[in-house]
Symmetry: C2
Subunit: 337 residues, 2 copies
DNA sequence: TTGTAATATGGAACCGGTTCCATTTGCAGA
DNA sequence: TCTGCAAATGGAACCGGTTCCATATTACAA
């Protein structure tokens, strides 16, 4: 393989000049540049990226740490990441986390500047020890889909669940529904997950904005899961004036609502509209109307943020909130007259 | 960051000795080794992999070229690959190919020893120019799921899609079906994937072997995907004499067929049997009868082969053929009388 | 005690880039 | 033609490892 010295010799110039040509420095005479380009062409030269990295003191590599990367949502985020990386001079290496041991090993390894230039963490809450390690190593890091409160001044890309809840509810309102139920997780839970709570917040905002009454009997909260949701929905359907539409805080809960509807003899969407949240794979298959996050964009945005960070380590942390979108399928329709 | 010279100085030894300790050379006295290990510990030293690579003249990096890596089958293969790579000293970089331009760019780039030590090609037929380029660069390469005839003496891991297609069809024949439809990818596509074509070949072989008529109106080809498959199946169901069973060339397409069946009011498996191919995760959940390939194992096997190859470039090419199996679930049954 | 072979050790040279400083070249103006 | 400054250029030093050769040390036999 030809080296930069071979090119310099062939072109009859110094190796500094070849480097300048390669890196587009303006301080090269046009005639010289041409001679060097000819040499590169003639020798089929291409610079050795490893040598370049050593010399630059950068790895030109970014790591993505992903738990269970076969999950469709993770894959789609990775696709967004890859699409940006492909256009850049960086390489992407992906770490699939399926055990706590591997998570620890990865987080420990990656907090070293000599390994990678930056780290993307997907859907994986970090403990403070891990965060500290990254900070001490001055390792640029961006969290994607990590909404945990214990991740303060770190750059991250998250979804706005309040807005998503608003949109879901608004979709039902737009269809003409006036009696809209909500089924979600307990309001005060031991776990600091915020998604159901925020979606509920959005639900109430949308109702109020539309001038609709907020009816406590249309709101049920219970342990996350299909069965609980089914029971809660079944109760709601026994009301004298039952809701004509239900917003479930997750697709799994929406499945429970669908089950309850079937058991109550309610046709969907004719007698009852149902909208879920997450767009899990089976939702597509079942035709469940739901709220989808911008998965591809979350990867895209996260990695751009990381690259800016690497470029300028002084850059202040940013928190980007991505919008969600309603995916209309076959479980929502205007209410029967 | 500490370097090997810092460690040498701290331990009061030469840098050669530190290197020997790091690489487990036996020619180091135990007392010296301990001193070096103490220094490494004290300085929190870890060797710079970039410098190591430059010095070794190896990139310690493997590329995987994957068209449409969001497909569940591709992801599962990648998982197999990643699981082996994680245990090795190699890094994996993944190239997602969604356009012919990118395919060309990747194949051109990766045929350079200074970029990577080896290349895995997944489900992507190579033209002879690309093959020649890899061979001239002496780049170790292993093909996974590439059954194209134009890939002669290259190492590869394949499935016998013809046999798989035969097995799937035979399963339907064994159940007593006589009118068996097929839905698969376009016969001539920009990407000359062979899997759908070979499965189709197996389908016809099984029909003929059973003495059943091959009916062109029972065969539909269209762009890979659930929606297209749904449309193709819907068309097929309008035939005066519709098939009682359908073999879809992939599970995603089988999902489309199931959807079409539901829309057409056909019960599965009473009115229509459906068999897919791939055994993606959701297939199990939905009870879809399908043909399972050893996807994870194909990645695992392919990357091991590649690593052996890198170890010993003289190694003769090998072709591993992985078995497939029909997984009978709830979407196939004998035809109604 | 000494000689010698085996083993342990130090460090220069190297991998192939980038960077920066010293030197050369080019060109305008006197 | 000469001067002086800016632009162009050459190449040593460096990045942080590995390797290998020359030298130092050790261990054992005579």
């Amino acid at each position: 393989m030809a080296t930069i010295r071979d090119v310099a010799k062939w072109a009859g110039v110094g190796l500094g000049t070849v480097s300048r040509v390669l890196n587009g420095s303006p301080h090269v005479r046009e005639a010289t540049r041409q001679r060097v380009l000819d040499a590169i062409e003639a020798l089929n030269y291409s610079p050795n990226p490893i040598a370049r990295r050593l010399s630059l003191g950068k790895t030109l590599t970014i790591a993505a740490v992903v738990p269970f990367f076969t999950r469709p949502s993770a894959v789609e985020r990775l696709r967004g990441i890859e699409s940006v990386i492909a256009e850049s001079e960086y390489d992407l290496i992906v770490f699939n986390i399926e055990t706590p041991e591997r998570r620890e090993a990865c987080l420990r390894n990656l907090a070293r500047r000599e390994r990678v230039d930056g780290v993307l963490i997907l859907s994986l809450p970090l403990d403070s020890a891990a965060i500290l390690r990254f900070q001490r190593a001055q390792m640029p890091i961006v969290l994607i889909d990590v909404n945990h409160p214990s991740t303060p001044e770190l750059s991250r890309v998250v979804v706005d669940d309040v807005a998503g809840g608003r949109m879901a509810t608004q979709h039902l309102i737009d269809l003409g529904h006036q009696r809209i139920g909500f089924i979600g997780d307990p309001v005060n839970d031991a776990f600091p997950f915020t998604s159901s709570r925020d979606r509920y917040k959005g639900y109430r905002q949308a109702l109020r904005a539309a001038g609709l009454k907020v009816r406590p009997e249309f709101e049920r909260h219970g342990e996350h899961g299909r069965d609980t949701a089914r029971e809660l929905a079944a109760e709601m359907f026994t009301l004298d004036e039952r809701p004509t539409a239900v917003f479930a805080a997750s697709d799994m809960q929406a499945l429970g609502v669908l089950e309850a509807a079937r058991e109550a003899g309610l046709r969907v969407p004719e007698d009852l509209s149902v909208i879920g949240y997450d767009d899990i794979e089976i939702a597509k298959y079942l035709g469940l109307t739901t709220v989808r996050q911008l998965l591809f964009e979350s990867g895209d945005c996260g990695v751009r943020l990381l690259l800016e960070y690497i470029e300028d380590p002084e850059k202040a942390p940013e928190c980007h909130t991505l919008p969600s979108e309603v995916v209309v399928r076959r479980t929502t329709a205007p209410p029967a007259r």
